[in-house]
Symmetry: C2
Subunit: 268 residues, 2 copies
Amino acid sequence: MLTRILAALAALPLFFLAVYFTPPWVLPVALALLSGLAAYEMLHNTGMVKCPVLLTASVLLAAAAVLLDYFLTLPLIAFVMPAAAVIFTIGIFSKGEIPWQALFGAFFSAVFLPLAFGAIGRIQRMDGGDALILVPFIAAWGTDTCAYFAGRFFGKHKLAPIVSPKKTVEGAIGGVIGCILLMIAYAFAAEAIWDVTLSLPALAVLALVGSVISQIGDLSMSYIKRGLGIKDYGKIMPGHGGILDRFDSVLFTAPFTELLLMYITVVL
Amino acid sequence: MLTRILAALAALPLFFLAVYFTPPWVLPVALALLSGLAAYEMLHNTGMVKCPVLLTASVLLAAAAVLLDYFLTLPLIAFVMPAAAVIFTIGIFSKGEIPWQALFGAFFSAVFLPLAFGAIGRIQRMDGGDALILVPFIAAWGTDTCAYFAGRFFGKHKLAPIVSPKKTVEGAIGGVIGCILLMIAYAFAAEAIWDVTLSLPALAVLALVGSVISQIGDLSMSYIKRGLGIKDYGKIMPGHGGILDRFDSVLFTAPFTELLLMYITVVL
């Protein structure tokens, strides 16, 4: 637990540095790196993809998609289709070495991961983005923390025992309630720091949806780990595991936050 | 071969009816049906997905995405992310019955298939869409036919023997050349029928890219079939197999055509 807290304390300044105190190209480049590393963890560390050509191509596609989307604002189809074509072409000419499962895993990594990481960069570019960019992180990591403590104190009924044996229904509910309270507290912080007024009902909706989705994200990544028989995706962060272990919930919360922000007014 | 030709002759009028002689909502609804059926073939007929809940959800997602995209012009993220969330949630609460491969297959079906079928509808809505909508079909089916005959007459070197033992390098090249010639002939037909002037160099680019991509699409769908040990995805069209057997090349050519049409001027 101590390693875990120390590692988090070391990573947080880096996070704030990339988001607030560096030239605007640093965040998308950092997100592209994270997306590529996450694809590497998903395909190589799990043992899913053994062919080095397919692995390299998928990692590059996952990283490049974030950059293309951010700097050229290409339509999504402009990287989904080329990604599919590259991945299948490698399969076709692999002399039957690559199993079909590996191709679908590569497609998922090259499409879902950059879309999810890229959402963080797209939120930053919105009106009030400096304040909004923290919303998915507060939703995801706030839910994690509140669910952990709510589970410890009140946990009785198992939530999804096969996927994640320690999680309880009480923890999940506590995570949602805690997340909503944290998000309302954040409205006051955002007002004080950036002089940005955020709508409390809108934030409550973001917190509710974000919290539920973050738990789905967490369990989803656990489901894949469980299926492939591994404990962690990597060990890049001491005590936290790999990028996919640390960002599992954010990967789902960030794009859903982006999606909600397109349709509801949060910044007043 | 006779069954094959007769089935094609029966299907073609239906195709022209849906594209040119029905109210505008018929084409997207037909594409949504095709997308849902293709997802069913990909997941059920291959034996990839055994869980009926996941199968039903994936088929509905694949069909709904075409409709949402066409009628609400939602951003792509608005169906990719909910699709991922629904598919993983079904996995999480399946009590470990669904293998991870099935989830990735479901994600591919619910994202790639509607994106590909939807491209046909999006092309029709472009300027000169009545003429442009035939371009991916001419590229895909023209390449198929020309490659078949070029292969029969000149075929010597195998192209991808493990995936598709009958295809040759000579056939592939003949397919590309034939496709370019057909597309140039089509320019004159389009001028005569719709009074639409199409740029010949631009059409040649569309034919070249479309023809190469259509062969990748054809081999990609064969790769999956081969991996799963099946001969055809279905038998909905006598002599042709399933939707995925007939539309394999179009599935890749249509979205690439759409993508090229965004950046090059074809209609003069």
